[in-house]
Subunit: 378 residues, 2 copies
C-alpha cells in the first residue's frame, strides 16, 4: 500500500480550520481549533439579534464550556443527565417543554454543548420545536467533533431501536474546540479514534498515514497533531456530506463498520462496557473479512486496518459476548435495509470505500461468527 505525503500538522490545521458545509440547502462553517469555547457565546449573542438563547449541556460539560457560553451569550442554561438513556422520546418531550418555558421563538438559538447524546437530543428538539428553530453545535468529545455534530443527522432512540426517530437538522455553525480533548476520559477518546481511523480508511489515505506516523503524539494528545487530525477527519465528513446530504448515495460510506457495529450494540443491549467506537472497530474488522471473502477488499488493505486498530488499542473482534442469533436478528432490522436486505460498505483500497454491496448469507454468517470470536452461528 502506498500512501501520499502529508503536510506538517500546523500548516494543515491552518488550511483546514474552517470547513464549509454546503449540503441539502444548508450552508454553515465547521470551525476547528483550541480555545474556541471562549468565542462561541459572543458569536451566538450577535447572531441571535435579540432573540432568546438556550444552552443545553450536561453535568460534565456545564463546567468546561456550557456555563461560559451561557454567560457570554446571556442565555438560559439547561443541564441534562449524561448518558445514552437521555436520548429518549420522553426526554425529547421534556426538552421541547423546557424550550417553551424558556420562551424560545422561531428566531431563537439553541446551543448544544456536549457529546453525541446532547447534540442528538438537542438537535432533534431544534428540528421539531415550532417546526424548527436555530441550532449551534459545540461538540465536546472527539466522536462528536469528527462525526455526530457535522452533517445534520440527529435522532433519539425508541425501545425498538437506536435513532429510529430524528431529522436532518443543519446547525448554523459547529465549533469544535480541540482544547477540550485534553480533559476527555481515555475511554471516550479511544472511542472517537475509531471514527477517525474509519475516516482515513474510507476516504483519506493521507489521514491513515498520519495516524500511523504520529501514533505516539496522537495518543499523548499533542495539541497541534490533534488539531490537524480532527480538522482532517472533519474534512472527510464535510466532503461526503456536501456531495450527498440525505444519504441517497455516497454518504453511506460513513457507515463503514456500522452494520455489524450497530447490530453488536443492539444485541448486547447497549452494554455499558461497549463504547460506540469499540463496536465500530469490531464492525470494521468484520467488514474487512466480508470484503476479503467476496474479493472486494485486498488482503493487504485488511492488514493495514487491523494493524491500525491494534496500534490504537481498539478491538479487532467483538469485545463482548453476544448470541449469534441475536446479532443476526439485529442485522436484519438495520434501518438502512432496503426491502429487508442489508447492503454492505466495503473497502476497495486504503482511502476508498464503496457501498451497496449485497453479500451472500453464508459469507455474512462466517464473518459474524468470526467477529463474535468463533462462536458457531446457530
Amino acid at each position: 500500500v502506498r500512501w501520499p505525503r502529508w503536510p506538517a500538522p500546523t500548516a494543515l490545521a491552518a488550511a483546514l480550520a474552517e470547513l464549509r458545509v454546503n449540503s441539502g440547502g444548508a450552508a454553515y462553517e465547521v470551525r476547528v481549533g483550541p480555545g474556541l469555547v471562549q468565542a462561541v457565546g459572543r458569536w451566538v449573542r450577535e447572531r441571535a439579534g435579540g432573540a432568546r438563547v438556550l444552552v443545553v449541556c450536561d453535568h460534565n460539560t456545564v463546567m468546561v464550556a456550557g456555563q461560559r457560553i451561557a454567560d457570554d451569550s446571556g442565555a438560559a442554561i439547561l443541564e441534562l443527565e449524561p448518558g445514552e438513556r437521555t436520548k429518549s422520546f420522553e426526554e425529547l418531550r421534556a426538552l421541547c417543554l423546557a424550550m417553551a418555558d424558556a420562551g424560545l421563538e422561531r428566531r431563537s438559538i439553541v446551543v448544544a454543548v456536549g457529546g453525541g447524546v446532547v447534540g442528538d437530543l438537542t438537535g432533534t428538539a431544534a428540528a421539531i420545536y415550532l417546526r424548527g428553530i436555530r441550532l449551534v453545535q459545540v461538540p465536546t468529545t472527539l466522536l462528536a467533533m469528527v462525526d455526530s455534530s457535522i452533517g445534520g443527522k440527529v435522532g433519539v432512540n425508541l425501545p425498538a431501536g437506536k435513532n429510529l426517530v430524528g431529522a436532518f437538522k443543519a446547525p448554523e455553525a459547529v465549533f469544535a474546540d480541540t482544547g477540550l480533548l485534553a480533559g476527555l476520559p481515555e475511554r471516550e477518546f479511544r472511542s472517537g479514534l475509531a471514527e477517525v481511523i474509519k475516516s482515513g480508511l474510507i476516504a483519506d489515505a493521507g489521514l491513515t498515514a498520519m495516524l500511523t506516523d504520529r501514533r505516539e503524539e496522537v495518543l499523548a494528545r499533542d495539541a497541534a497533531v490533534l488539531e490537524a487530525v480532527v480538522a482532517r477527519t472533519c474534512a472527510v465528513k464535510v466532503g461526503v456530506v456536501n456531495r450527498d446530504a440525505t444519504e441517497v448515495g455516497e454518504r453511506a460510506i460513513l457507515n463503514y463498520g456500522h452494520t455489524f457495529g450497530h447490530a453488536l450494540e443492539a444485541a448486547s443491549g447497549y452494554a455499558a462496557g461497549l463504547t460506540h467506537g469499540m463496536a465500530v472497530a469490531a464492525g470494521m474488522a468484520v467488514a474487512g473479512r466480508v470484503g476479503a471473502s467476496v474479493g472486494v477488499t485486498p488482503p493487504e488493505v485488511v492488514e493495514v486496518q487491523q494493524r491500525q486498530l491494534e496500534d490504537y488499542g481498539l478491538p479487532q473482534r467483538a469485545p463482548v459476548a453476544v448470541a449469534a442469533m441475536d446479532l443476526l436478528g439485529a442485522l436484519g432490522r438495520d434501518k438502512k435495509a432496503a426491502a429487508g436486505r442489508v447492503r454492505w460498505v466495503l473497502l476497495e483500497a486504503v482511502g476508498h470505500a464503496t457501498w451497496g454491496h449485497e453479500v451472500p448469507d453464508e459469507v455474512v454468517g462466517e464473518a459474524v461468527a468470526w467477529g463474535l470470536g468463533g462462536n458457531p452461528v446457530i
Copy 2:
C-alpha cells in the same frame, strides 16, 4: 365592492381538479374530485414498489375510506382514537413504535386517512420516523381537504400550546375525495366553510362571489358546486404555498383570523363546543375590526365578510365565554410572535390580505373586548 365573473362550476372543477404543489424542494399533486378513494389504494401499491405500507385512520374514517385503501394497497391498518387529544407527543411516540412494529423502512409509505388530527399526527410521525418516510394524505373532512393536508405543515400539541412541535413534511400526493363530504356531520362541514370563506377573502374575490351566489347549493352540498368550491379553495392554498414554502412571507396570510382564533381556542381550554372554524370565524371578525380601526380594511370589506359569516351560520364574535386576561395572555404566546410582538394579517380588499401589521395595544384591546362580546378588558 366589485367581483370578477367566475366560470360554471363543472368547467372550473375540471380545470382545477389537479393542482400542482411546487414548494420548498417538494413537488406533488393535489387531486380533487368525487370517488377518488376508490383509486388511492392501487396508486399507493404501485408507488410503494414492494415496500411496506401502513394506513392510519380513526374509528370514523376506517369504514368510509381507510379499510378500502388498506385492502387495495395490501397495507397494514392502524386505528387512532378520534379527537384533538390524539394529537399529543405520547401518541406520536406510540405511532412511531407502531411503524417499527409494522416493519416500515425508508421507502415505505404511510397513508393518513382522516381529518386534521390524523393528518397532523401521521405527518409528524412520517417526518421523524427513520428521519422521514413517504407520506400520502387522504383528507376526509372539508377543513383537512382545503387546508391542513396541503403545504406540508404538520404538528402535535404540547401542554404549553397547540402545534408547538412539528415539521414541514411534504406528502407524495393529496387525494381530496369530495364524495366523502356528503356524510360529514354538519358541525364539521360548517367548521371547514370558515376556512373556505377565509380563502376567498384573502386571495380570491371570485371564490367569495361564488360563496355568495351559490350559498344554497353549497349548504345543500351539491356535488358539482362543492367540487368547484373545494378545488378553488385548494388553489388558493397551493398558490400561496408555492410562493412561500416555510412562512417567511406571504404564507402568513393563510393565518388571517387565526391570531385571535388560536388565542380563543387556547383561552377556552379547547372547549368541546368551539370548533376551529368557529374560532377562525370569530378571529376574522376581530381582525376586520382591527383592520378598520387602523385604516387598513375599508368598512365595506368588513361588511362583506360579516355578511358571509352570517350567511353560513358562523359566529361573528366569540361564541364562548373566556376571560379577556386569559385571551390577551394567549395572544402574547402566539408562536408567530417576533420578539414578543404579535403581527396581524389584515384585509385591504376582498381577495387581498397583507401581513406583518403592528397594531397599537389599545386597538387590540378594544377589538378583543368587542370580540368577546363587550366584556371589559381588565
